[in-house]
């Protein structure tokens, strides 16, 4: 029974990774770069959520308290996190993508947005450290420790709600990408950026949309993380993103459904391997498998969309 | 002792079911200046790509100086004495003029000793002197350290020819060397190629400028839709009905005018 309990815990943990993995895979699929602002946004949203709930925002705490009261400050936290992250995403888009063209194309050109995104990661981590310090920050969960059990298996209510919520969000997103006009434009850019411009897709206006979507995914995921696990710090994004990247690779780069399955699977794998072989050894099978996958089957387990065509 | 430096026999190539090169055979005589012409999309550049090993051929054979190179990998083909320039300038933008030319020498310097020889640290080494001389002989005197991306188009075009030359080829493949050049530059290019040819190097050139072809070449091969439709002297080519039809049949009026 303990094994099943571990599987359930893993699935819950996977729920956190899913949205971050989808965010990574969207940016890689559309814009072909590994966006390290994703961990920054996840972490920043989680910290904002903590700060709003605990009244430690740099300003506006009293206003929030007057409007929402102590009991419903978590709603204010969600609003603050989503709005701030959406705005920040627009700023990041300007500096990581819009100006990123080397004078003469060459083999390391694709690294430019990667490098500026690392710059943003450093900015945000130190912004949080200098405002809230580098110690772990613990918030009080607004939902307490609600649990129910089926047989001997214990389920945490907030975790179930989060898992369902994240799955609904990403599934809706992927349906939207399939069906809508925006989705078609995005896929056109992903396939051939030059041709997309000719076909009347305004790349300059679509790319910020991609950034805001991925930013919001990170924000929701970060908010849910704070509610469920209550303890956050300036570096929580790095840990989560590392595993989410693994999930994304597993599902195939640029493949949204792959990232969903990969994210859930990697969460379960992490918990199971910690349970079976111990936390320290868990890294070896996970990353060893990914290394093999990247080298021998770069499309991932389900993938067909191999990005990095042409010069890359 | 063969008189043909290049022999192409029954060459076929398809891309995704589309026949791009269909049973093309022709020979290039040693010391000749042969032109490969044809309307747009006839497969001229593809022939070059097949010769230099960018793509493998589906069927047929390629023989250079009596040596069958059909299965030789791309990086080794330059060592059998075949070197090329490109339709769009493909110089290395971050390398200087001299360094680009020294890259052309690579085929002659593949031994470990040559690979580990410090070209940049010793300013007066033989490789560098040879490269600078080749540039000077071609009439390209610039700062040897100048990064090529900053040079004028016509100069870059000629540097490409020089880079191909320094690998010491027996056969020089030039893909539209005169495209985009003005009258003066075309003249300088022609002069350079004539000098190269006088040194005994065989030239196979793809070119749209028919005046240039008539002035330079002594033999012409015509492709259309991946097939060879004619080979002969420049005098004969204008009288050949198949060639006239190929050019007049296309929408490209300027080419038709050029050909007739």
């Amino acid at each position: 029974m303990l094994v099943i309990q571990q599987l359930v815990n893993g699935l819950m943990l996977g729920g956190v990774y899913v949205m971050v993995a989808v965010a990574f895979t969207l940016i890689i699929g559309m814009l072909n770069f590994l966006n390290f602002t994703i961990p920054a946004l996840f972490m920043f949203a989680a910290v904002l959520m903590y700060a709003t709930m605990s009244g430690t925002l740099p300003f506006g705490n009293d206003l929030i308290l007057t409007i929402f009261g102590t009991e419903y400050r978590w709603i204010a936290g969600i609003i603050v996190a989503l709005i701030v992250i959406a705005l920040v995403s627009l700023v990041i888009e300007r500096f990581t993508y819009r100006y990123m063209k080397a004078k003469y194309g060459d083999a390391t050109e694709h690294a430019l947005p990667l490098v500026s995104s690392l710059g943003f990661l450093i900015i945000f981590e130190h912004l949080v450290v200098s405002t809230w310090g580098s110690d772990p920050l613990t918030a009080v969960s607004p939902f307490g420790q609600g649990t129910f059990s089926i047989g001997t298996i214990i389920f945490s209510v907030p975790q179930i709600v989060s898992l369902v919520l994240s799955l609904v969000v990403v599934v809706m997103l992927s349906v939207m990408l399939k069906a809508s006009k925006l989705g078609r434009a995005l896929r056109a850019i992903a396939e051939r950026p030059d041709a997309a411009t000719l076909m009347g897709v305004e790349v300059g206006r679509i790319v910020p949309v991609v950034y805001v979507i991925t930013g919001l995914l990170c924000a929701i995921s970060g908010v849910l993380f704070t509610i469920n696990y209550t303890t956050v710090d300036a570096y929580v994004g790095d840990t989560v993103a590392t595993v989410a990247i693994a999930g994304m690779v597993l599902g195939g780069l640029g493949n949204v459904w792959g990232a969903i399955v990969g994210g859930l699977f990697i969460g379960m794998l992490e918990v199971m391997s910690i349970y079976i072989v111990g936390a320290d050894f868990a890294k070896v099978p996970i990353w060893g498998m990914l290394l093999l996958l990247l080298v021998f089957k770069p499309t991932g387990l389900f993938g067909h969309t191999l990005i990095g065509k042409g010069k890359f | 002792m063969t008189v043909n430096v290049l022999e192409i026999a029954g060459m076929h190539k398809s891309f995704g079911g589309l026949k791009v090169i269909d049973d093309v055979s022709f020979d290039v005589r040693k010391g000749s200046r042969t032109a490969l012409i044809g309307p747009n999309g006839a497969g001229k550049t593809t022939v070059f790509n097949l010769l230099t090993g960018v793509y493998d051929i589906d069927a047929g054979s390629i023989t250079v100086e009596g040596e069958n190179i059909t299965n030789v990998p791309a990086q080794d083909r330059v060592t059998v004495g075949m070197s090329r320039s490109f339709q769009n300038i493909r110089l290395m933008p971050h390398l200087s003029t001299v360094e680009n030319v020294m890259l052309g020498q690579h085929a002659r310097a593949r031994k470990l000793g040559s690979l580990l020889y410090p070209l940049g640290m010793l300013p007066r080494n033989n490789w560098r002197i040879a490269a600078e001389e080749a540039l000077e002989n071609a009439g390209i005197g610039t700062y040897p350290g100048e990064v090529v991306a900053n040079l004028p188009y016509g100069v870059q075009k000629r540097i490409e020819v020089v880079r191909a030359m320094v690998s010491d080829p027996k056969l020089l493949l030039l893909d539209e060397p005169a495209a985009g050049l003005n009258q003066v530059e075309t003249g300088q290019l022609q002069e350079l190629l004539e000098r190269v040819s006088d040194q005994g190097v065989t030239i196979l050139v793809v070119e749209h400028d028919m005046q240039f072809v008539r002035d330079l070449c002594d033999y012409i091969v015509v492709l259309n839709f991946g097939r060879k439709i004619f080979e002969g002297t420049p005098e004969e080519v204008h009288r050949d009905p198949a060639v006239l039809e190929a050019y007049l049949g296309t929408d490209d009026d300027t080419e038709a005018a050029n050909a007739s």
Binding site: F33, M100, D106, P113, V249, K283, L290 | L115, Y143, V184
Partner: protein, 301 residues
Amino acid sequence: MSGYLESQLIILCLATIYAYGIFLPAASGQLNLGAAGFITLGAYASAWFNASTGAELPVWLSVILAMMFTGTIAFVISFPILRTRGVYMVLATFAFAEVVAGIVINVEELGAAAGMPVDAHLDVTVIVPMTILVILFSFYFMSTRLGLALRSIHDDENVATLFGVNVRTAKVVAFTVGAMLMSLGGSLYGHHYNYIEAQTFNVLLSIYILLYVLMGGTQTAWGPLIGAAFFTIVPEALREIAESAGLTWLAEGRFMMFGAFIVLLMVFRPEGVMTRTLQDRLGGGLFRRKKQVLDETAANS
């Protein structure tokens, strides 16, 4: 030399050695985010060869053997890893470093998660000359025909192939030699601080080293030196200034300034600080020989 300056110099030297290890493959356009993996291998291998519980070899031999050990592993994995390109290579090297960290942390002989004490001590009088040697070697390496081939691959792999460059071999050599340099850096780290922990060599280290190289510029061998020097000296200098002037905002904000600088550098100078053109301009009278006669075309157009 004061103890403080000496400790900063050591940090700078190690960063420089690591940076050249990442630079060599980067010069041919291969991005390696696995620096931590090779540094770990070097540090632990040399510590084990040297340790009384291990092979009990003299320190110089341990360092060399560690380089050969790391080089062998790098050589073997370079074949599969160099099949990947672009973002796949970044991820594959990153995965490799995670695997190394995961293995080391589980080997009892290497101290597992508690870390491993290192016997022999190497001080600044060894580390500085070794760093200078690495720099000179890298300049030599990039000036050879092999270096020229690597720079050509960076610009246009297909054309380089057509001129006879064996692209695969060149990449494997750059990757392997780079890994050996990082191994050297890792060994020196271990023997200087006399204690190593796998957690020290984490992904953040890999990221920073890659940043040094890309910030400094991959076009010339000056790049890694400038990148490593700039990014180790400036934050430290800012801290010093902030402390002496009592500016708390600067002490806390210097890393944010560092991040902002990275972002702005990528906007305004994506090739990195040092480019080929800049090197020529600075080298001016020293390296450029007589201006040859400009031909008419160049002058006219």
